[in-house]
């Protein structure tokens, strides 16, 4: 349409002002996009699922949670004692382990954080369907799923096997050859030795790399057979003058339980709470999301502020920036708008001419900003480092592109409505009257 051409020409008439307005819009949309992305992820993980939900059982009074391994079996069973008690659909035990590839040079890059677990809880085929207890691995591409299942098979066959995260492989690669591209195949079967650090001091474990987690959430996590871990703890006294390792009796960090629905969760949770077996230390059972919510509790004010103060403040500022630019442009163009009216342009057409100009500028800059944020954060920086709980990094959701354009458009509409209305109401007779 011809009017669109006119709108574009008006935007181009004062390029500096248009560019500054667009840049201001981009910066503010960037901030809002970031804030919303983080909030979106947090909402997603703290939203209570009603079906197939996960519960997490940890030590009640202490962080980090350290439970005796003897708790593993009864907790996994949901502490069933009598007929009618409900058993969880599935479970998974996590025993943390932290070791370094290089004891003489304890850099962060040399650390490997891993969980000891039952391999088939990482993933298996059940009734023709892939099931896993690991969040985020439920819907892998067929290729990633097949690769993971093969790695898990190797882990089952090889007690000293370990599945690593992509970043571990990259670090190992760098330590040996400083090659930038990680050749996963070449690293398969490679033997590594980890030297326990922190609470795991003295617990040195030898592994053979049998696989890598699909890229993404578990890039910084290793997983290995819990039997190997427990064996190593059992053997520890033989090489340490009969003394048990400090963690010998308290090395189970948490147990995940999967239950079909909220009612089942409430039952299982009550069974565990009332069980006499878990007195010292006591345990608590939470849903994954309530656990995460508890974890986020200290950040509550911050999150509230980001949602209800920071983001709205950015939106208001954005509207004002646009209102300012459009008002100036309308004031400058009063005679032109009056001429258009003389020629027969109707008030509504003039209104849309001005709204269209700011809408195009706002939505365009908003979309560009969100696309840039999306590309730079997700591809260039590979996510935003923001470790909370088990989250490691945030990615900007693809929805952000829509938000960006929408934020820009709405702010533009709000900001330009008054100037557009002024333009609409321009009276040619007054503009051309030389009031003496």
């Amino acid at each position: 349409m011809k009017i669109l051409g006119l709108i574009l020409k008006n935007i181009g008439r004062n390029p500096l002002r248009s560019i500054l307005t667009a840049l201001g819009t981009m910066v503010l949309v960037f901030v809002v996009t970031m804030v919303w992305s983080v909030l979106w992820v947090l909402d997603l993980i703290t939203a209570e699922k009603q079906e197939n939900l996960k519960a997490i059982v940890t030590e009640r009074w202490s962080i980090p949670s350290r439970l005796p391994f003897a708790y593993a079996a009864p907790i996994s069973d949901g502490a069933v004692r009598q007929p009618g008690d409900i058993r969880p659909d599935d479970s998974m035990t996590w025993q943390f382990y932290l070791g370094s590839l290089d004891p003489k040079n304890l850099t962060r890059d040399s650390f490997i954080f891993a969980i000891a677990c039952e391999p088939d809880k990482l993933g298996r085929i059940e009734n023709g369907k892939f099931v896993t207890m690991m969040d985020g691995l439920e819907s892998l591409s067929p290729k990633d799923q097949a690769a993971l299942l093969e790695a898990i098979d190797r882990l089952k066959a090889n007690r000293q096997g370990i599945i690593l995260g992509y970043n571990h492989l990259a670090n190992i690669n760098r330590m040996t050859g400083d090659v930038r591209d990680v050749n996963i195949d070449q690293l398969m079967g490679k033997r590594i030795k980890l030297f326990g650090i922190g609470g795991y001091k003295g617990l040195d474990l030898e592994f053979e790399i049998v696989g890598v987690f699909p890229a993404g959430r578990y890039d910084n996590l290793g997983a290995f057979h819990r039997d190997y871990f427990n064996n190593a703890l059992d053997q520890y006294p033989q090489t340490h003058g009969g003394r048990k390792h400090l963690l010998a009796d308290r090395n189970l960090n948490l147990v995940w339980l999967k239950v079909p629905n909220m009612a089942a969760y409430n039952r299982v949770s009550a069974q565990i709470d009332q069980s006499p077996s878990f007195q010292d230390p006591a345990v608590k059972c939470e849903t994954a999301s309530s656990g995460m919510a508890a974890f986020l509790e200290p950040l509550r004010d911050l999150i509230w502020g980001a949602r209800y103060v920071l983001a709205p403040a950015c939106l208001i500022t954005l509207s004002l920036v646009i209102a300012n630019a459009i008002s100036i442009s309308v004031r400058e163009r009063r005679p032109e708008l009056a001429v258009m009216k003389v020629l027969g342009f109707r008030p509504a057409q003039i209104l849309w001419l001005v709204l269209g100009e700011s809408l195009l500028l706002g939505a365009g800059a908003g979309l560009a900003s969100a696309a840039l944020t999306y590309g730079v954060i997700n591809w260039y920086f590979d996510g935003l480092r923001f470790p909370i709980g088990f989250l490691d990094r945030f990615y900007i959701p693809i929805n952000a592109l829509g938000w960006g354009a929408m934020i820009g458009a709405v702010a533009a509409l709000v900001g330009s409505f008054v100037p557009a209305w002024t333009a609409r109401s321009v009276k040619p007779a007054e503009v051309f009257a030389k009031v003496a």
């Binding site: 006119l6 009216k341 003389v342 020629l343 109707r346 008030p347 040619p428 051309f432 009257a433």
Partner: protein
């Protein structure tokens, strides 16, 4: 309509006043005017006498405080703003003292602007725009922006824009007021030409006696009323 009987413009008992604060400024008082079809009418009068005000009423840019304005058989003083806008596109060609071309548009696009409101095809628009630009002798400047044209050329583009919709009435408010003598002469010749070849009715407001000479009839605004002066 019987009301017209040959006159294309009929202004009957028009009062126009403006309010400035508590003051009331009576500009036109019980003014009556008839302009026969095809007439070239000159309007003169001292600054502030209400020439532009009267022109605005006839061109449907403003409404009288009292009285009726008929143009081409239509009572335009009773139309709504949106109706007037539509009516102006087809019936009025406005020529301004300061040309008032849109600076971001080329000469061609400026002339095309009113045609966008008429829902014509691209080729029809092109034909009409080129006809108008040829008539004012600027067919070779179609891609120039107003800033790249002289005052006289800009005013010729303004005239092309005024005639491109083939309006009933052309109103010109001091079209030569901002031009040197030679350019002014050219513009006046052009108006004569429009008159002769297209048989347009023209209302010309001017301070310049040489411009007024060209008109069939010259009226003077005095104390809110029109006074005829023999040529």
């Amino acid at each position: 309509m019987a009301e017209t009987n040959g006159a294309i413009v009929r202004v009957r008992g028009v009062h126009k006043y403006f309010r400035r604060g508590s003051e009331r400024l009576d500009v036109l008082q019980d003014l009556t005017l008839e302009v026969p079809e095809g007439e070239y009418l000159g309007l003169m009068g001292p600054s502030g006498s209400g020439k532009t005000t009267l022109l605005n009423l006839i061109a449907g840019l403003d409404r009288p405080s009292e009285g009726e304005v008929w143009v081409g058989g239509q009572l335009i003083s009773a139309m709504s703003e949106a109706q007037l806008a539509r009516w102006r596109t087809r019936n009025i060609g406005f020529i301004f003292q300061f040309y008032h071309l849109l600076p971001v548009l080329s000469a061609y696009e400026n002339v095309e602007l009113p045609l966008l409101l008429l829902g014509l095809s691209r080729s029809e628009r092109r034909r009409q725009v080129m006809t108008a630009l040829e008539l004012v002798g600027l067919a070779d400047r179609i891609h120039h922006r107003p800033g790249q044209l002289s005052g006289g050329q800009q005013q010729r583009v303004g005239i092309a824009r005024a005639i491109v919709t083939d309006p009933t009435l052309i109103v010109a408010d001091e079209p030569t007021g901002d031009l040197d003598a030679r350019s002014a002469e050219e513009i006046l010749n052009l108006l004569d030409e429009l008159r002769r070849s297209l048989h347009k009715t023209i209302l010309l407001v001017t301070h310049d006696p040489r411009a007024a000479e060209r008109a069939d009839r010259v009226l003077h605004l005095h104390k809110g009323q029109l006074v005829e002066q023999a040529q």
